[in-house]
């Protein structure tokens, strides 16, 4: 089998551009999900009336439907009833909608990991609720939450592969084009896999390293 190296070299810039776009969209989606997740977990922690049911409903909806459908609904569905959105906005909104519930779950796990006695200890020296969160709950929850947050980030970056379905020129879409137009299937797929490995492997390894460091500081092992 002949590998068309010339084609690979000439297509590389296209892939680099697409990879950047994937990264950008994922980063925006992750940032938005973190915010949504944090808000949701605060609502769940304080059990604010009315909002709790809303948040729980959102989480169930978000976790039980596929990203593809969420994005199709946003891009093809909502735009028909008046809302206009660019493809990139849809992609980020879809990722944020899906990611928010995953992040909320991660935060919830972290908050629950902080034992009641540590909280009472904090209350006994007169810490206010806000101070309690800042000095006791968040730092301790962080060590437990970090692995989940990291895993969610990697998950969302992988899910970004789906947004090519609405004609965003990210990695999958570019690959489809190259296969469809130039029939350089092997080369296109090779570039695709390499691109994703370059995006994901450092993240995955970096996360494991960070996890280990944080766990050592917190638990000493």
């Amino acid at each position: 089998m002949e590998i068309n190296w010339a084609f690979i070299v000439s297509s590389a810039p296209l892939y680099i551009k697409a990879a950047w776009l994937t990264l950008k969209l994922a980063a925006l989606g992750i940032a938005a999900s973190l915010v949504i997740g944090l808000l949701c977990s605060v609502v769940l922690f304080y059990r604010t009336k009315g909002l709790v049911n809303l948040v729980q409903g959102y989480i169930e909806l978000s976790r039980n439907t596929p990203l593809l459908i969420q994005i199709f609904f946003l891009y093809y569905g909502l735009t028909k009833v008046g809302l206009t959105m660019s493809e990139n906005t849809c992609a980020v909104l879809g990722l944020a909608f899906l990611g928010g519930s995953y992040m909320a779950e991660a935060f919830r796990g972290g908050i629950e990991a902080v034992s009641k006695s540590q909280i009472e200890s904090g209350l006994s020296i007169g810490l206010s609720d806000l101070q309690l969160i800042r000095y006791v709950i968040l730092p301790q929850a962080f060590a437990v939450t970090l692995p989940s947050l990291g895993a969610n980030c990697i998950f969302l970056l992988k899910e970004t592969s789906i947004v090519g379905a609405i004609a965003i020129p990210e990695l999958m879409h570019v690959t489809q084009d190259l296969i469809g137009i130039y029939y350089q299937t092997f080369e296109a797929l090779l570039l695709l896999v390499v691109a994703y490995l370059i995006l994901l492997l450092p993240l995955s390894i970096g996360l494991t390293w960070l996890e280990r460091k944080v766990r050592y500081a917190q638990f000493g092992n």
Partner: protein, 225 residues
Amino acid sequence: MLNSGISVLVEGINLQRLMLGLAVTVRIALISIILGSLLGVFIGLIRSSKSKVIGFICRFYLEVFRIIPVLVWLFIIYFGVTNLLNIHLDGEVVALIVFSLWGAAEMSDIVRGALESLPKHQMESGLALGLSFWEVYRYILIPQAVRRMLPGAINLSTRMVKTTSLVVMIGVIDVVKVGQQIIERSVLKTPTASFWIYGLIFVLYFIVCYPLSKWSKNLEAKWEN
């Protein structure tokens, strides 16, 4: 404008076709879940074997399927393998292959986690009571392992059902593709069709997945201790 659109759902045989599409989705999901679970349990069991080589191969297999997005795998098998081997594979077959392998990889990790979380001394305690090696497995270890695996396995199944939505990208006529076809045909008559069709598909996926996740949560809570 909104009201006129909903009629597209009940026009002609639209609903029937959507349900047929849903059947394809469910079929792919079900077969992949079964095959994936069986393969996954097997791999999970041999992973903890003494041989370092086997352990490494299993670990490699798991990581490869985890790090590369499922959609990329679908492309690799659908476009790549068929191109290499000069055979034509139906999109549905490709989906079954990819999902089974991916599901097996994830399942093997769940199995491994369950086995590792079993208290170490159970075998000794069982033997001390006079049970044979296999009896300990049958009455003590396996029931406990199953309990620890089940919530994760159900969770994985839910994820697999959601991922079947991707098969539309490799040409399978599943519920999403049928929806798209209906929308294309109704574009003149009912411009808001896409809102209703995708909305319905959204709800359909929810109806399938929500009971599964609830079941998983209930099992977890029940077996908390």
